[in-house]
């Protein structure tokens, strides 16, 4: 059984927010809720790096563990879904989530947050009919044999989605192709440093490929 995962290649992410609006397009979540967001570290500095973040569909997901109502659950393929009928808006999943994925439409007195919403890996959620599913959770692209729209539409193919093994393979190939120690999660300063240190550190991945 495949295990579905997202992976954002920070070397490719240009913070265009295509994933954010692609998600809106697929799921039509209301104004104020963005299931996916792009985070930029060191904005405007030489070490600037961006990364697109949403629910990571964790194994042993913290949100599932802390949910008082079992709103959250994991499918066999690793996708973590939520059942809006069960959600009471307590906010615990938000406290526990490492990535700030769960969001609530409201933030009112008496803990009135409304029903939690989060990325579904474009796999919809529990509902009787297609209409209800779309209304509550958005698209179910997985059921149609498609991957999440955010990854499919990523401008530079930075955001990868799919079976963890395949995602890892693609990423590994990229790293090999880049042939630099800073092939993946780089900051430019680092690259400059390696350049100054000379060629000795430059072609390591090439060696790796030669030796199979």
């Amino acid at each position: 059984m495949a295990t579905m995962k997202f992976m954002c290649d920070a070397e490719r992410c240009i913070e265009c927010n295509g994933c954010v609006t692609a998600c809106k397009n697929a799921n039509e979540v209301p104004w104020g809720i963005q299931r996916r967001r792009v985070v930029t570290i060191d904005d405007g500095e030489p070490t600037e790096v961006s990364i697109s973040v949403a629910c990571m569909h964790c194994d042993d997901a913290p949100c599932i563990a802390v949910c008082p109502t079992e709103t959250l659950y994991q499918r066999d393929d690793g996708i973590v879904l939520h059942d809006k009928d069960l959600c009471i808006g307590c906010g615990y999943c938000l406290y526990a989530c490492p990535f700030g994925a769960p969001q609530f439409p409201k933030l009112n007195a008496f803990g009135e947050r409304g029903k939690m919403d989060k990325c579904t890996f474009c796999a919809g959620g529990p509902a009787e009919t297609k209409e209800e599913e779309y209304e509550k959770y958005g698209a179910n692209r997985i059921a149609e044999g498609k991957l999440p729209l955010c990854a499919e539409m990523c401008s530079t193919k930075a955001l990868l989605a799919g079976d963890a093994q395949e995602v890892a393979d693609i990423f590994r190939q990229r790293v090999v192709q880049r042939g630099h120690e800073d092939g993946a999660w780089s900051g430019n300063q680092r690259r400059e440093r390696s350049r100054r240190q000379g060629a000795s550190v430059d072609n390591l991945a090439y060696d790796a490929t030669r030796q199979g």
């Binding site: 265009c16 609006t21 961006s50 729209l149 530079t156 042939g179």
Partner: protein, 952 residues
């Protein structure tokens, strides 16, 4: 981009119609089968209960279209059910974007759902918007136009067209203006890449991107100067990052701002705004000093490099450092990277073009690439990323005040050529123009006022304008006025006009920024998803768009509106002589075929609608790396038949993927430099020396082909007798049979000749590009050494100031340099994108980027509200974003906002329900005077300002 505080719900929620109402409307206006099916469907009830797009089991029609935002030309699969745009799927098989989209592209479907549209024709009457019927609107507008024409002549009405038109509409509006009898027509290319087109075309023939985005994958170094593709052309980054990853290409970003692109670069250089020429000369100084130039290439293919050497010699490292702020070591480093990593290319955008010295900048960039021998090679080139989706096409199709379609210019010969294509009497055409002679010559042959200067066209005294009167009526046909400089004066100009007509899917800032209470008409135009036609991407490739949905609300496609107006104004018969009109809608394909018959200069002749549709249906057959079809119905064609696609469609030319690439036969997309500037200059030959394209029968330089030349070469007999009849006395540009081109190409020759590129443009104010200080500069010490030009008395019909502005030193009162640029979420003036909730949510506030040091000096903290005052007094109240992205003496503003003017919201001026989700101060309220000395390009990238903390 960093976002500041956000609102929890869209502004002005509750205005406008709900999506539910939209669905009812779209059902009602669709008419016929679709409507019946739709209304009878149970979808309707569900739609009542929800805001989301209804889920339906109805059959899905998949339409192929092209994103209407930037010029990258991303393919889109739009899924439509019963007339409603219910899905958008990535076009993985599209050769340019492979399904990828930026924020704008990924939200295209909202075009079919946003209710923030101009919904029906309206007019401003006693300060109130009043709804009109189309008949009434056309009648009233037409009467007023006729009255103005009668009273003040045809040049009193300005037809401001759009880069958002498809090719057919752009061509049609140019033809429309011609038949109305004026050259006062233009579009955004003027304020976008006009300096590129002028500078580059005058260097080697054509003023367009030489290679393609896909070809960037083959580059070994890419120099971005005044270009930020991460925000302006995000999908281009896919190709750029591939170059970086596959071949360790050097990505060098030279910009006053540390842009998002800089964050992905291998080298970033911070440049003082407006010092591009000095910077390039600084690079060339090191290149010449170290002998890194491509000597053979220069000898064979370049004219005038010696004169460049002389100029460059003055730009020693210390001078360069003083002017640009870049240290010698940095200059050397970049020059070496460029020299060591060939083929390399240069990419520039508005940062290079939107200057008073824009034409100098663009030529300097070209000269750099010529010196390195990078032009005409895969991986090399001058890769000019155009702005709007069809700004390349609209430029090619001549929607400009100084040319007819195909860059034929405005000479009598050009008019005769087009009169012949249009099959109208030349004398009749001439009679349509003002019979008086202007200072610049007869109106028909003299350049019209440009879009950048319409403000002065209205405000200037009649005696100073080289036409009968100032402008009295303006058509803003798909134009964001907030993308133009000098906001306060623009407002004054608008107040002074007799007639304002805004034809647009959105009301635009033009509808709200004036103080008028009458005489403004709004005509709702359909978007490009509501019509069909071809669009030219930045790489010169034409792509065909399907109609995705029917025009929303009461909007109508632009070409239909042109027909209605032409009918009212009395020249519909001539305008549509060979174009079928169904109901009120001219047949798009007939328009394509018509320009195919006349666009010989740039090779828009081989792209018949049939071929374009074949390409559109076979995206998957084209290579992502080379753009060439591998098998399939378009076998060997390059995607989109990038112009020049020589001869007529029957000739089956594959298009030219790389301009001036001599390694391929012309028949297969090869080319030489164009012989555009004569054959010799001061006794030196301008023709190529010993180089020619692969398989050429002429093994040296040669001039452009004419009937006479064919005869001398003994190739005349290869024309058919009909071709001979048509070609007699003509040349490759004017021979409507295409015979001359066909025969030249049969012999492996480029129809336009084989010449050298020139570094010296002797017809320009600065034959060799010179560094000149901006009109508003903080570096007064450089003004004496690098002064601007003297004032021009009449230039595109208007007096144009240089020295008299620069002389006036305002740098003590306005010490901070102001520049502007783009954000990824918005496009152009932003009226459309700010009306899309998915995008608007991401950028809710206008801001100015200020360096932390400057902010501390000014006592400003992040998120404070500040007043920014431009050097001519325009003020904007915006939020401060403190960031090291900009240098200490430079501040940056994005230019997509509008709807707030000098601190005052114009929200109440919008027609109800048509106000964008996000409003903000327009950056250009604070920008100042300054126009390029060749094209009247506006200066938006360097001016001066002052900033102070706003009290409240």
């Amino acid at each position: 981009m960093r976002l500041t505080k956000k609102s929890a719900r869209p502004a002005g929620q509750g205005l406008g119609i709900t999506r539910r109402q939209f669905l009812q409307r779209s059902g009602a206006t669709t008419g016929g089968l679709a409507a019946a099916g739709f209304l009878g469907n149970s979808m309707m009830q569900r739609a009542d209960a929800q805001e989301k797009t209804p889920v339906s089991d109805a059959a899905i029609e998949t339409k192929r279209t092209i994103c209407s935002h930037c010029s990258v030309g991303c393919g889109v699969y739009a899924e439509v059910q019963e007339g409603v745009w219910t899905g958008q799927e990535p076009a993985f098989d599209h050769p340019i974007n492979r399904g990828a989209h930026c924020a704008k592209g990924a939200s295209l479907r909202e075009h079919g759902h946003s209710s923030r549209r101009l919904k029906y024709p309206m007019k401003l009457e006693n300060g109130e918007w009043k709804r009109l019927s189309w008949e009434q609107a056309i009648e009233e507008v037409g009467d007023k136009v006729l009255e103005l024409r009668e009273k003040h002549g045809p040049d009193s009405v300005y037809w401001l067209g759009s880069a958002k038109f498809n090719n057919e509409q752009a061509y049609l509006l140019r033809k429309f203006a011609a038949m109305f009898g004026t050259n006062n027509t233009d579009h955004q290319a003027r304020i976008c890449h006009s300096t590129t087109v002028a500078g580059v075309a005058n260097t080697w023939g054509y003023g367009a991107m030489t290679n393609s985005l896909n070809d960037l994958q083959n580059s070994r170094s890419i120099l971005f100067i005044g270009s930020n593709p991460c925000e302006a052309h995000p999908i281009a980054m896919q190709h750029i990052l591939l170059a970086k990853e596959r071949s360790n290409a050097e990505i060098i970003v030279v910009d006053p701002r540390f842009t998002r692109t800089a964050a992905k670069a291998t080298k970033y250089v911070r440049l003082r705004p407006g010092s591009d020429v000095a910077y390039v000369w600084g690079l060339l100084w090191h290149i010449f000093e170290n002998g890194w130039e491509d000597k053979t290439y220069i000898e064979q293919r370049v004219y005038g490099m010696d004169k460049v050497r002389d100029e460059v010699a003055a730009f020693t490292p210390d001078v360069v450092e003083s002017v640009t702020g870049v240290h010698e070591a940095e200059m050397y480093d970049v020059a070496k990277r460029l020299a060591d990593n060939r083929p390399g290319c240069i990419v520039w955008c508005m940062g290079g073009t939107q200057h008073t010295t824009g034409n100098n900048n663009t030529r300097a960039y070209c000269i750099l690439e010529l010196a390195l021998g990078n032009i005409g090679k895969s991986g090399g080139g001058a890769n000019i990323f155009r702005g709007h989706d069809n700004v390349q096409g609209a430029t090619d199709l001549g929607l400009m005040s100084h040319s007819l379609p195909g860059y034929y210019g405005l000479s009598e010969g050009a008019w005769q050529h087009w009169a012949k294509v249009w099959d109208v009497d030349y004398e009749w055409l001439k009679s349509r123009f003002d019979p008086t002679e202007y200072a610049d010559g007869p109106p028909m042959y003299s350049n019209g006022i440009t879009v950048s200067r319409w403000i002065d066209g209205v405000l200037e005294q009649d005696e100073n304008i080289a036409q009968r009167t100032s402008l009295k009526g303006m058509f803003y046909w798909g134009h964001a006025v907030n993308s133009q400089t000098r906001g306060p004066e623009m407002k004054k100009a608008m107040n002074q006009l007799e007639l304002m007509v805004i034809v647009d899917p959105y009301p635009t800032v033009a509808a709200v920024m004036h103080d008028r209470s009458d005489g403004v008409y709004l005509l709702p135009a359909a978007t490009q998803f509501e019509t069909t036609g071809s669009v030219t991407a930045t790489n010169r490739a034409l792509q065909w768009r399907d109609r995705v949905i029917e025009p929303q609300f009461e909007s109508r496609p632009d070409h239909e509106i042109m027909y209605l107006l032409a009918k009212k104004l009395g020249f519909a018969e001539e305008l549509f002589k060979h174009i079928q009109v169904n109901g009120n809608e001219p047949l798009i394909e007939d328009i394509t075929r018509e320009f195919n018959r006349g666009m010989w200069t740039v090779g828009y002749t081989g792209q018949s609608p049939e071929r374009l549709k074949t390409h559109q249906q076979n995206w998957h057959t084209f290579s992502f790396r080379t753009m060439q079809a591998e098998g399939g119905p378009a076998d060997k064609d390059y995607y989109g038949l990038p112009w020049p696609c020589w001869g007529n469609a029957e000739m089956n030319h594959p298009g030219t993927p790389l301009l001036y690439d001599t390694s391929k036969p012309v028949k297969e997309g090869g080319l030489t430099f164009r012989a555009r500037f004569g054959v010799e200059r001061d006794g030196i030959s301008l023709l190529a020396d010993g180089v020619y394209s692969e398989g050429s029968d002429l093994n040296d330089g040669y001039p452009e082909f004419t009937a006479e030349m064919l005869k001398q070469l003994g190739w005349w007999e290869e024309l058919t007798s009909e071709e001979q009849a048509a070609a007699e006395g003509k040349n490759w540009k004017t021979d409507l049979s295409g015979g001359i081109q066909r025969v030249a190409i049969d012999h492996g020759c480029a129809p336009f000749g084989n010449a050298k590129a020139r570094c010296e443009v002797w017809t320009f104010p600065d034959p060799i590009p010179k560094h000149r200080e901006p009109l508003y500069t903080a570096r007064r010490d450089l003004v004496e050494k690098f002064p601007t030009w003297d004032d021009f008395e009449s230039f595109y019909r208007l007096p144009t100031l240089y020295r008299s502005i620069q002389e006036n030193d305002v740098s003590d009162r306005y010490p901070i340099t102001l520049t502007s640029g783009r954000l990824v979420e918005y496009e152009g003036g932003g009226e459309e994108t700010r009306s899309m909730s998915w995008l608007a949510e991401l950028q809710q506030e206008m801001f100015v980027e200020i360096n932390p040091a400057l902010a501390n000096d000014l006592g400003i903290r992040n998120d404070d509200m500040v007043w920014l005052e431009g050097a001519e007094g325009g003020r904007v109240k915006i939020k401060a974003m403190v960031t090291p992205r900009v240098a200490r003496d430079v501040v940056f503003m994005p230019f997509h906002f509008g709807g707030v003017f000098e601190g005052e919201s114009l929200a109440s001026h919008y027609p109800e329900g048509a106000q964008p989700y996000v409003l903000g101060e327009a950056a250009n309220t604070a920008t100042t005077y300054g126009y390029d000395s060749v094209t009247q390009m506006q200066e938006t990238k360097v001016t001066l300002c002052r900033i102070e903390k706003a009290s409240a």
